[in-house]
Subunit: 331 residues, 2 copies
DNA sequence: AAGCGGAAAGTTATCGATAACATGAAGCGG
DNA sequence: CCGCTTCATGTTATCGATAACTTTCCGCTT
């Protein structure tokens, strides 16, 4: 790199410290000095060295790490976008990682990121390995757990209850007269949140005397094809279902495609409900019954909670965001 | 942080340098020493300080920056995923940013990232401000430009020709007998790549004596609604089109929704073609005519080119990936 | 037994910015 | 005109790891 603080200091006839103060926009220098320093810095094409700054004083790190289950999830893309917009505006840089729905991979990621001494971290979910929690304590940076609500966060939390989402959908489908419900899931065992929705769903159905009839939980990623073949498998085993709740909208759309292919009328013969609120679903011939999650808002809230903490303000410990059940024409 | 190299050195009865050598897996120590050091490091819960390492010796940075137009683009999500998978496996960390299709925002991002002295950078597109190019030269890190092919990259390039995509689609639609083509775009002026596709499309049509009849380029983000209303506007002005080429699949799907809502038969009354190969399109009742882009492969190739360069190997200067025109039932 | 090669380990200087402390000059009331 | 405050500025130590160099030690040859 061409110039450092000392080069500017020499050229401007002041000390390094004065240059540092000017460029960071502090106080303790005259207007005349500031102008001179700024001009020289510009002329020399000075590019600050955050590595040195963050190393010398961890206070000055502007590195924020964020770990999501998958980078290709449309839902998390919006969360990421919300975080990035809020943070980049304030001069923070975002380091990302994907844990593939595994707390072990999350631990590996946190271990890597911890070595960069980040100013803050955003994690997805409330489940972590003990070693992860240890590491987080050691880095001593603010941590926001997003997506799944936890009332006892490591530090801060922004999310909603997946259990309640499932329960609410169960109630809704019962009100619409559905009595023989099935479920098609994915990411068997890896995804505790889909599991939580299923449990909420089941609890409500059982409580009403119409327990879940059958379920098909694939090992695959939750996508269109998983939804398509999941529904096929489920119906082959249990043909007389009157509604199927899917892990998410992608899968529900796959289910709709299967129904269309087989001449199953939706919602007359079979109801279909999803979860998440994928954008693409809004242009289906029939509006999908689903639960919309305020993804961008979650990202924004997480970033804001983090920044508040970094500025020394207390910061909201737990932020609950509202999901919204959208009654469509498929459920 | 609990422990640093010196703490381990003291506890193990060796020097810092020996600990450093052991933990980095170098040579110059006995098996006995290695075991002792490793054990102590583990016991003390040592977390390396990459800030110090990268600062002391830029060789040892494992930071890679990547800038995409939008974080919410399904296409770029897969590119990102391809990059992340390839890099994280090798111990690199990914810093991301979005430039909102603006070279000025890209410059701001590069300026920020440059101050972290990254080991490498991945940028989208081949257009950059002069100041960006200057900065890139200054950071002296390998740079991969992706998405749009350039035969004279700053450093390395992985991509394909948007112009050719448009031209190929033009030829295809002409072969299918279309004679009065329209175009619906988005991101007016901001997106040079959509512009390139349009130009390729127009050139072929004009060359065949059936020039583009009308076009509607919105200022909006390219999404479903933009496609819906874009087609509405276009057809209001020029009703007698027999095919419309869209900026991307999202918009084409919006166009399909508009056609369905208005009772316009596709492809009989109007052909519709998209670009990009969005996953969701695969479950439409009629398969969308589009060009599929190998997104994950682009990410993977970009990461590999970067890593090769970082390892001192020459690295592929220009990598051309193949897009694939998929004849659907809508065009 | 002197000398030598090479592996193992230690020493020193360094990266660039910042916190904490120190200095110095100007301004000002008594 | 002295001592006090205040603001502008300079000095010094420091963060943790690493490159480059130096020393130590051991075994082996002649």
């Amino acid at each position: 790199m061409k110039a450092n603080l000392e080069d500017i200091a020499k050229a401007a006839g002041v000390s390094k410290m004065t240059v540092s103060r000017v460029l960071r926009g502090g106080t303790g220098f005259s207007d005349d000095t500031r102008d001179r320093v700024v001009k020289v810095a510009e002329r020399l094409g000075y590019v600050p060295n955050k590595l040195a700054a963050a190393f010398g004083s961890y206070q000055s790190s502007t590195l924020v790490g964020m770990c999501v289950p998958r980078l290709t999830s449309g839902l998390f893309a919006h969360v990421l976008d919300g975080v990035d917009r809020a943070l980049s505006r304030l001069g923070y840089q975002l380091m990302i990682g994907a844990n593939n729905h595994s707390v072990v991979e999350e631990e590996a990621w946190v271990r890597q990121i911890a070595s960069w001494r980040p100013a803050g971290l955003i994690l997805s979910g409330r489940n972590h390995t003990p070693a992860t929690v240890d590491l987080l304590r050691q880095v001593a940076a603010p941590v926001v757990e997003i997506w799944e609500l936890t009332t006892s966060p490591i530090d801060m939390s922004v999310g909603f209850s997946h259990h309640d989402c499932g329960a609410e959908m169960g109630q809704f489908l019962l009100r619409r007269g559905r009595r023989r419900a099935g479920y098609v899931g994915a990411l068997a065992r890896a995804d505790v949140m889909g599991q939580a929705r299923l449990e909420g769903f089941q609890a409500v159905l059982a409580g009403a005397g119409h327990p879940l009839v059958d379920r098909e939980v694939l090992m695959d990623m939750p996508g269109f094809y998983a939804g398509y073949y999941g529904l096929e498998t489920l119906l082959a085993r249990t043909p007389d279902l009157d509604v199927v709740y899917f892990h998410n909208d992608d899968m529900a759309v796959g289910g709709l495609a299967y129904a269309a292919a087989k001449g199953i009328r939706v919602p007359e013969d079979l109801g279909i409900a999803g979860w998440g609120g994928m954008e693409a679903a809004s242009i289906l011939p029939k509006r999908l019954t689903t639960t919309v999650v305020p993804t961008t808002a979650i990202g924004k809230a997480a970033a804001e909670a983090l920044v508040a903490r970094l500025k020394g303000e207390p910061g909201q410990e737990v932020t609950v965001v509202q999901t919204r059940l959208v009654p469509g024409e498929t459920g």
